[in-house]
């Protein structure tokens, strides 16, 4: 029972982290209609920038400055790259962001090398917040939860309660009309792209010390972020939240509990072929849930796309 609570908290942390990435991505998608393959790369840049800044100014300045720097880079990418490619259509846009992801990974290796960076949590948060049945919950995790929730609320407020948010929402649906009303739509697009990538940057800053700051960190997380927003429904902020938490908990629980395929199959009335090591199905019988925990989201996504192509909360097809 206690372990369930612990796993709920762990899953929440994973889910909220995923949410910070997917929120920016889904925002960008609903604006430009293109999936930004390089989104996780901006997350990686956030972590590396923050690490570099933390060497001189400490963790907290890193948390403040790194996302801004990432946001400015993101805006630059939109202004000088994506806007140019936009005229060729959606597929080249997708390919552009794909190439950008490759380039950023190479760039990071060029600057920081291939080894993991010794980027760590600030000393002030290096204590155990509380323990549940011998399992310690570090204070840093609680901090991560608070930051993520604060960002979600802030984002929701800006989008639904402020004038800027109204204009953005209108620009998403009727770009031509909003432009005719005298708003600078390209500027709004650039701003949204910048904010979206900055959000990814924040995620990088706070996840870097926990999940490791290394050149492969974007690749590890990259495709799972698309999976999240596809499951949640492209363009839906709530969908991104729900899907992130869902994925966080599914993966955490399937790792934490050894559900064996053997038990499932026997439960379904199949008999185990003997001898098992000689059977063509031996691999199926030996599967355990931790083994496949990280590919469960992909299975979920394919199923969702087949049966409900607009995702859990999406309003339109991708």
């Amino acid at each position: 029972m206690d372990l369930i609570l612990v796993n709920l908290i762990d899953g929440l942390v994973t889910g909220l982290l995923l949410f910070m990435l997917s929120a920016g991505l889904t925002l960008i998608f609903s604006m430009m209609g293109v999936l930004n393959f390089a989104h996780a790369s901006f997350y990686m840049l956030g972590a590396y920038f923050a690490f570099q800044i933390s060497l001189y100014l400490g963790f907290w300045m890193g948390l403040l400055i790194a996302p801004l720097a990432v946001g400015v880079m993101g805006a630059g990418v939109e202004r000088y790259g994506l806007r140019r490619v936009h005229q060729y259509g959606h597929v080249p846009e997708l390919i552009f962001t794909f190439g950008l992801a490759l380039l950023i990974e190479e760039l990071v290796q060029f600057i920081w090398g291939k080894n993991q960076m010794p980027y760590s949590t600030p000393e002030i948060l290096q204590f155990t917040a509380f323990s549940i049945a011998g399992n310690s919950i570090p204070a840093y995790k609680i901090f991560m939860i608070f930051i993520s929730i604060a960002i979600f609320i802030g984002l929701l407020y800006v989008l639904t309660r402020t004038r800027v948010g109204m204009i953005i929402q209108a620009a998403l649906t009727y770009p031509k009309t909003v432009e005719a009303l005298g708003h600078n739509v390209p500027l709004i697009f650039m701003g949204v792209f910048g904010v979206g990538t900055a959000l990814a940057g924040v995620a990088g800053v706070i996840a870097g010390p926990v999940l490791g700051t290394f050149p492969g960190m974007a690749f590890v997380l990259g495709s799972i972020v698309f999976v999240t927003i596809v499951i949640g429904g492209l363009g839906s902020l709530w969908g991104a939240l729900v899907a992130s938490l869902l994925i966080g908990w599914i993966t955490t629980f399937s790792k934490a509990y050894n559900l064996r395929m053997e038990d499932v199959l026997t439960g379904l009335g199949f008999t185990k072929p003997e001898p098992i090591w000689d059977s063509a199905w031996r691999d199926l019988w030996s599967i355990t849930s931790p083994q496949i925990a990280d590919i469960l989201p992909y299975i979920l996504m394919v199923l969702i796309l087949i049966f409900r192509p607009y995702g859990l909360f999406g309003k339109r097809d991708a």
């Binding site: 372990l3 492969g216 934490a256 083994q291 925990a293 990280d294 590919i295």
Partner: protein
């Protein structure tokens, strides 16, 4: 850029013209390992160790035969089996007869098969495979061949040694086995279960599981499970980021028992663990670095650090590869025909720079040597890793580990 530039030029030449005859006064050893990509750090460090060993242990001693020098030629395989096979072909075309590789059993498996086929199909330019690190037991069992020599203790031998130590520790009653979901991880798990079952049937294996390799972002759920199982010891074959991730997660979660590993040192891992790993992290490997066995070993390490201040001698066996190859070539009286060299290597006995006896077993070309259990510590470490102040110190030693272990190898000799 290093020698790779030179090599690129020669490759361009081979592309443009034709095969490239080996120089009369150098014996080239192709080093096929990752020099770009995520494992480049490990590969580059290995290359430096090879270059240094060839220079110090052979060339400065006057070379082999009539003063022939060793030259290490680097090939980047990007840790891909396909690329390795291409680079193998390039190396063979350049007249290289000795292939050294170590990172990834998958690559080693591809190479040993390709070399065996190549030698059968092209008796005129046969090559030898000097495997210095790939530890999948199959390579010296079912998949063994006459051209393959393994200078590292294989996963089974290491586990044999490790379980000797565990068996001797009465405090350990529950063991948790966790590893990456692929051949090596499975081999480690199977060996752990088998040896513990033989040596200490009373030990309970409270967990035996595999996780996806290189894909786990957060090891917390695994750490929680391990804690919940009340394990007294953890055994893992994890390497790279998976090792750091698992180890950190477990330690952060309050685990204080021993964490027995294969690959938890150097290449940034020692630095990443730092203080947290002291007291828990144990590593099974050959080659005693700390405390230095003798002045010669210490001087060698110091000279290496002088040349490569950021490097580590993390694969002590590389000196054995170079020394034993030189000895075999001298015994055979030729470097061009690898068959007598291989016969000389098989069964060879040698005293390692690191103070241990070595014997290349004739039946399966698996080296037999002392295997040490090291502790990750900063206390009494003469030569640290990653310039972190932390390093490995020998805790206990299993002499000539698994010298009479069985093998299923049925070697066909020319």
């Amino acid at each position: 850029m290093r020698t790779t530039t030179m090599l690129g030029l020669t490759t361009a030449l081979t592309l443009a013209a034709s095969a490239f005859a080996a120089g009369a006064d150098t014996i080239k050893i192709a080093f096929i390992d990752p020099l770009s990509g995520p494992f480049a750090g490990t590969g580059t460090n290995g290359l430096h160790q090879y270059e240094f060993a060839a220079e110090e242990l052979v060339n400065k001693q006057g070379g082999v035969l009539d003063g022939d020098m060793f030259e290490i030629v680097a090939f980047d395989n990007k840790i891909s089996p396909k690329e390795s096979l291409i680079q193998l072909q390039v190396a063979i075309d350049q007249g290289i007869r000795y292939i050294a590789q170590g990172n990834s059993s998958g690559v080693a498996n591809a190479l040993t098969e390709a070399i065996s086929k190549h030698n059968r199909r092209n008796p005129d330019d046969r090559v030898l495979f000097l495997n210095y690190s790939a530890v999948d037991p199959a390579l010296t069992n079912d998949k063994c061949n006459f051209w393959h020599f393994r200078f590292d203790a294989n996963a089974d031998i290491k586990m044999d040694a490790l379980t000797d130590v565990i068996a001797a520790d009465d405090n350990i009653e529950k063991v948790y086995v966790i590893g990456q979901d692929y051949s090596f991880g499975k081999a480690v798990a199977a060996a752990a279960v088998r040896f513990l079952g033989e040596k200490r049937p009373d030990i309970e294996i409270v967990g035996n599981e595999l996780h996806p390799i290189g894909k786990v972002k957060d090891f917390t759920p695994y750490a929680r499970k391990i804690m919940a199982s009340d394990a007294d010891a953890i055994i893992t074959g994890n390497w790279g980021a998976d090792m750091v991730g698992l180890g950190r997660s477990v330690l952060e979660n309050g685990y204080t028992g021993p964490l027995y590993t294969y690959y938890a040192a150097a290449d940034g891992i020692t630095a990443a663990f730092g203080d947290a790993g002291v007291g828990s992290l144990k590593l099974v490997a050959e080659g005693q670095i700390n405390p230095p066995v003798n002045d010669r070993a210490a001087a060698y390490y110091e000279a290496f650090k002088a040349k490569y201040p950021d490097g580590n001698i993390s694969q002590a066996r590389i000196t054995n590869v170079i020394e034993m190859l030189a000895k075999a070539i001298n015994e055979a009286g030729t470097a061009d025909d690898v068959v007598p060299v291989a016969y000389a290597l098989a069964g060879m006995e040698h005293e390692s720079l690191w103070g241990t006896q070595l014997k290349m077993r004739e039946s399966d070309h698996q080296i037999i040597q002392d295997v040490h259990i090291h502790a990750h510590t900063n206390d009494g470490v003469t030569f640290d890793y990653d310039n972190s102040g932390f390093g490995l110190k020998v805790d206990s030693t299993v002499t000539m580990a698994a010298a009479d272990s069985p093998t299923t190898c049925k070697m066909r000799r020319p």
